[in-house]
């Protein structure tokens, strides 16, 4: 008999500090469950970036290194060389990964580093208080685009998965969302594959996770889920990207 819905032993018995409806809570739980399922509890080493999840090592019973803004993929690349047997993963928000860290991220994927990379895209620079992020959609109001993002002035949102797909690399790239039970289950499968892929020696697996930021979107948790479905998914379509669309 298997028990469904039991709390992963990797999740420490302390409450998350995240806002109600924040995707980090869901993703931390998924991450813990997938790592446990794959029996990587003692092999996984996380590299967390700078964002609302910068203290994630408080919640997960795993080895962690915390990186300076943007550098998580580079830290992970170095770490993997020192501990080749480790299941090294990065966990970043889109501001961390795509503003300070775009160089680190693109080069790590181009080298096909044997690491798992998670980028949570919630169209908000949350930790600083809801300012413009590289994926904020045109017209979206933030604390630093009070009249809405004007692409002429503030640039266009960066579509990470499409950009990497355009590089025609062997990496496994997938975009998922967490706004419904079905999508959470798809995300679970994506995470599972994303941990296996590098450990099988095949290369980088990157999962772009569409998340919600209830506080800085000014929406309730349920309205935020609708917002993901109606506004974010059309701009950031879900699915597999790039050369390695199968497997």
């Amino acid at each position: 008999m298997t028990t469904q819905g039991a709390r992963s032993s990797i999740l420490r018995p302390i409450p998350f500090h995240y806002c109600a409806g924040c995707s980090h809570s869901v993703l931390h739980r998924l991450l813990a469950e997938v790592i446990e399922e794959l029996d990587l509890h003692r092999r996984a080493v996380g590299v967390c970036g700078v964002g609302c999840s910068f203290l994630m090592y408080d919640f997960l019973d795993l080895d962690f290194v915390s990186s300076s803004p943007g550098r998580a993929p580079s830290v992970a690349a170095g770490l993997k060389r020192a501990v080749p047997d480790a299941a090294v993963f990065t966990y970043q928000g889109e501001t961390d990964a795509l503003s300070a860290g775009l160089t680190d991220l693109v080069h790590a994927v181009s080298r096909n580093e044997k690491i798992t990379m998670l980028v949570v895209n919630n169209c908000a620079t949350g930790l600083s208080g809801g300012q413009l992020s590289p994926t904020v959609l045109a017209g979206q109001k933030t604390r630093t685009t009070p009249a809405g993002r004007d692409p002429q002035q503030h640039g266009h949102p960066i579509r990470l998965s499409e950009m990497l797909a355009g590089m025609d690399l062997p990496a496994r790239i997938e975009r998922v969302a967490l706004n419904s039970p079905e999508n959470v289950e798809r995300a679970r499968l994506a995470l599972r594959a994303a941990f296996r892929f590098p450990l099988e020696g095949r290369g980088t697996a990157l999962v772009e996770v569409l998340g919600s930021c209830t506080t800085y979107w000014g929406l309730s948790p349920t309205d935020a889920e609708t917002h993901v479905a109606q506004t974010m998914v059309p701009a950031f379509p879900l699915g597999r990207f790039g050369r390695n669309e199968e497997g």
């Binding site: 090592y57 915390s66 580079s74 020192a82």
Partner: protein, 343 residues
């Protein structure tokens, strides 16, 4: 061997396991050398897209238990300061080599010592210092490189080796040491977890008071380094009327100047700090006790000068002579400056 290559070979013999860096003059030969030799020796060599990235890669590798080095020059060393602040705060050991070219800005690739402040003050954000060593010959660079990893690992601190571009680019015969054993896993490292509790390597101390406590622990560690690390060379100071204080290539220029001066009956001596931080200030104060004046020589507008003045207070007359922008004074120029202090 060229000093940059000798450093690379010494690092290999000291058990280097990973190198991350970028080509930038005048240290490119070091990177090229390791691109061949490190993979041959079973280590990992990786060219980074930039220096902030290189030091981040090095951070990861050292956190995972590697014996790690990165190297750069001037503008690249400046970009590494973000990482150095994190390394110092997270107490992750490694060797960082800066073959110092002339700045500020892109400057030029000629010799300079103007990264002294960056190397000794903690060039990144927050309160921290890193051990900083400065060789004045290829042999000394070999010896210091070989030892730097031990210092770094023993004290869980990054070690900066500041090599002015003239020392870095000169070719001299060197005696290379035997190959040392590789790094040993320590309990604070990540990966290879086994049954131990999870480790976190971080520079984040979020709760009230915790950062203050951590910083004081770092300061205490730093003050403990002074006896262990402080290195210097003292040459003919005992009867000198003028003591020249210089490091790196200027120490050698000063030595020749002193030789010329002594032939003319002018009593000069040299005090050459080898550890720039911790600075051998007390030893310097002893060495110049009988001298009438002290002349600080640097390839900068006067940076070590501040440490000399701090060490000597108002007990001595301290003068300065320096050149910038890649100019290196000749021994005659130096002697001439020192002679002025005798009249």
């Amino acid at each position: 061997m060229r000093t940059t290559e000798a450093i690379a070979e010494a690092a290999l013999r000291a058990g280097l396991t990973q190198f991350f860096g970028t080509p930038i003059a005048p240290q490119t030969e070091l990177v090229e050398y390791l691109s061949r030799r490190l993979p041959e020796a079973g280590g990992a060599f990786l060219i980074a897209p930039d220096e902030a990235t290189a030091v981040a890669m090095a951070f990861g590798a050292a956190a995972g238990g590697g014996r790690v080095m990165t190297s750069s020059s001037g503008p690249g060393f400046a970009r590494m300061q973000e990482g150095l602040s994190h390394l110092a705060a997270s107490e992750v050991p490694m060797l960082v080599v800066d073959v110092c070219r002339a700045g500020p800005g892109f400057g030029n690739i000629l010799p300079s010592q103007a990264d002294y402040f960056v190397a000794t003050r903690g060039g990144g954000n927050g309160d921290y210092r890193t051990i900083a060593l400065a060789p004045s010959s290829a042999q000394e660079a070999v010896d210091l490189t070989y030892e730097a990893f031990d210092l770094a690992e023993e004290h869980r601190s990054p070690v900066v080796m500041l090599v002015d571009a003239m020392v870095g680019q000169m070719m001299e015969p060197v005696e290379l040491p035997a190959r040392k054993k590789g790094p040993v896993r320590k309990r604070w490292m990540v990966g290879d977890r086994g049954d131990r509790k999870a480790n976190v390597i971080t520079s984040t101390y979020w709760t009230s008071g915790s950062l203050d406590a951590h910083n004081y622990q770092l300061f205490q560690k730093a003050s403990g380094l002074i006896d262990r690390v402080h290195r210097y060379e003292e040459h003919l100071c005992r009867d000198a009327d003028v003591v020249l204080v210089a490091f790196g290539i200027m120490g050698r220029v000063a030595k020749t100047a002193i030789e010329k001066a002594r032939k003319r009956g002018l009593k000069m001596g040299l005090f050459r700090p080898i550890s720039l931080w911790p600075f051998p200030g007390e030893t310097l104060a002893q060495a110049v006790k009988k001298a009438r004046s002290v002349l600080v020589l640097e390839l900068s507008a006067g940076q070590m000068l501040h440490d000399v003045k701090l060490a000597l207070g108002d007990k001595k007359r301290v003068f300065f002579y320096g050149r910038t922008g890649g100019e290196v004074p000749s021994p005659f120029e130096v002697m001439h400056e020192a002679v002025k202090l005798l009249s």
